[in-house]
Symmetry: none
Amino acid sequence: MTDDSFHVFDTTLRDGAQREGINLRVTDKLAIAKLLDEFGVGFIEGGWPGANPKDTEFFERARTELDLRHAQLTAFGATRRAGVAAAEDPQVAALRDSGAPVVTLVAKSDDRHVELALRTSLDENIAMIADTVAHLRDSGQRVFLDCEHFFDGYLHNPAYATRVVSAAAEAGADVVVLCDTNGGMLPDDITRIVGEVAQATGARLGMHAQDDSGCAVANTLAAVNAGATHVQCTANGYGERVGNANLFAVVPALVLKRDMDVLPEGCLREMTRVSQAIAEIVNIAPSTHQPYVGVSAFAHKAGLHASAIKIDPDLYQHTDPALVGNDMRMLVSDMAGRASIELKARELGFDLSNDRDLVGRMVERVKDLELAGYSFEAADASLELLLREELGEPVRYFDVESWRAIVEHHSDNSHLSEATVKLHVKGERVIASAEGNGPVNALDRALRSAMEGVYTALANVHLSDYKVRILEGSSGTAAITRVLIDFTDGHSDWTTVGVGENVIEASWIALQQAITYGLLRQGYPSLQA
Amino acid sequence: MTDDSFHVFDTTLRDGAQREGINLRVTDKLAIAKLLDEFGVGFIEGGWPGANPKDTEFFERARTELDLRHAQLTAFGATRRAGVAAAEDPQVAALRDSGAPVVTLVAKSDDRHVELALRTSLDENIAMIADTVAHLRDSGQRVFLDCEHFFDGYLHNPAYATRVVSAAAEAGADVVVLCDTNGGMLPDDITRIVGEVAQATGARLGMHAQDDSGCAVANTLAAVNAGATHVQCTANGYGERVGNANLFAVVPALVLKRDMDVLPEGCLREMTRVSQAIAEIVNIAPSTHQPYVGVSAFAHKAGLHASAIKIDPDLYQHTDPALVGNDMRMLVSDMAGRASIELKARELGFDLSNDRDLVGRMVERVKDLELAGYSFEAADASLELLLREELGEPVRYFDVESWRAIVEHHSDNSHLSEATVKLHVKGERVIASAEGNGPVNALDRALRSAMEGVYTALANVHLSDYKVRILEGSSGTAAITRVLIDFTDGHSDWTTVGVGENVIEASWIALQQAITYGLLRQGYPSLQA
């Protein structure tokens, strides 16, 4: 366990959510919070209760639905308005009543922002900070204070910026966080200024870096070097404009390169998984070239280095990928392709080490399918079905004659989605139709309706998630649609993939495989060819 | 013009090309070299002549086809083999005869790599460096020497790593480049080691940083702070594994934040264009969140900021985007307040500053719609249609009675997508059907078929991109589908958004708006309510 002497503070759900293209629903926020907790961060900033209905709902549901092992939930908000007592400001009251044990207050520390944006006096801004910190402290909450635009402010008026830090600390803020809100600082600026502020105020300092200069990770580390003991980061560096300091680069640098014990035991190994899972939830393709966690982060082009890597991989990698839950990969070489198919097969329970031909055929099929737009990284169930096919044990429970999906919008504004499937199940021709809330749902129901008499355990498996990605065709060619479908039987989950020129066709392929795999899991013997 | 006192050295064509997924043809390399020259770099490393036919051809064609205004072409290669005179090593001869005025030699500087990978003695490695540098110098070429794995080597055996630097400088290398080949260093390591090496050797030093710790830009700047006067970077940070120091982050930091005159006059303004053009050539989608040049780099979302941005944009941006050829953009989101709606409206050509009620109503509608899954950040056209509706000038060219889309998979494995729409266009009821390569394409065609007699200019607008995002699919609730559709009339582009429980319904909403907006752009007057 980590103690309070160093804070890993995550603000993915608040500042990270400001990234262009991210639009989180409350259930997304709850799922991300759970993952961040698994990664072992100390604080999760959940949002601004009272500022919008979504954040208010998040804090309400978090009380009952989030069972955090490592992290404390923090609420974000502003200091009281000018000329109003903190206790009487409804925005401050929402923070106080949020149920969050910690509140992060944002305050102006650049005198120009106080005058132009806040439109109040420099003294009143100080009073707003001191009053709000003291009020929340008196109500039993721990308070951190974010000094917005701190570094620009310090360069313009160091005396006032320093005064803000002192006022917050004196009023009882546990940490005063220096924010490079516009993200334009370079590490040497940070080292100098954080050092000066630490000396001038004696306050416990934190760092919040934006990445507009491409230096957010380095700026965060520079602040730690200069004495900061609290770092604010976001998963995968999500955030407004260019983004924030990337949690998954700052934390491993501290742990692996500076021997700082800032995560609970065993958590660093979860990093790659957590990073990718969060990318899935926000539906941004994981960056293949992200430090530490990207699929290319430990990928070596075969050639010059290959033989030496075999002798001592540590001569060619800055850290052991296993420490962050990632893997070394060799590219381009057919051997590497073969090895990964063998490894994957072993994971799935097949030993292929004595069947070079089979491995070769699988490598070719996977390569061809990936060229056509398939991706088996997440779709283990599709890969297993493919593998069983190559092993001469194809899994088959039904044959498809034809299917049809119809979506209608009627003149009374109602919608109808309806599907019909024509199957052959154990020698019998079956026709079934069903309605659904969309065409894929209707197809799923029609398939079940056609087979549930024969395969009764089908009732135990159902669709749990559905993702669509459009793969850009190069100019002139049609776009390819890739669909991933997650199924569950309540105990385990599996994913299948379908690709096609239209979304319904791609969905059908994935759906059919997901149901086939589900029947296999339920123990039904495959039909003979 | 810049002089020789500081080198901006680009290695996109050599080290950048090692990025997973990049595969450059000779014409691509020539086109990228031309763009890098327009950006004003001093040196363009073109590849390794003699090592592969593509690079050899590149140097041959460059002699006649490349007319560089600012840059010198440099050839990359290795020191002579052990036990062979430099003049008699064919690899060295290829460098000498390449026609390149400058050669960058790579050499081992980590004693472990000399022994394990090169399999020669430490003394022979020094001789290989000295001989090869002297031979190329004597042949009239300028020589830079890359010390591979320098920092890891220095930490392991500082005396030997330092000896390599001195040997190269004494043999006549103009610059000795310290390479963080594994990319694991942090800026404070770089500052210390570069300073120590500069003091110990007196050599002119350069820096080559890989980005495995997410600190390549900062590491390059740290080396400059410690005395390096030559920086090796790649366009957009392309490179092996995570990538190299990003040219388009290192150069603007030096120019804009450290007042170093490292680019020819006027070149920095080309940066965004050059970055995007190179991304097009290598066929990697430009990173929207890249510092300085990304479309999101100066995009503002938070409602909190928007009111003050109107007063003084420089308070909210780390540099003027025009200096790097980029633009500020305002985004509309559920966090946005009144000021961002006003600013957005002004961008779209409406002055709302005197209509507080209207702005309030728009903020409420946008908030409600975003809660339901809409996102207007990218969908300017949908936002404009919404705004016109609130202004009492709704845009309408047709009324929809009903529509239907059918997707069929036949027993011969063929697919059919067919749609029927029933519309009222200028008082007439029209029924039209069409087939397509998918249901959305079929709906698009049916809509056009129903209206093209009345709105002939509809032929000028067409769908150019289509994106689907599933917003929630867990815990039994229906998933919400968000569809973004891009349309173009060949001169300009617009985006609309649709949301619904099923993908066809969501697509229909976006499609209908995209066509409505297209007709507006083509100058048709809206029908009266």
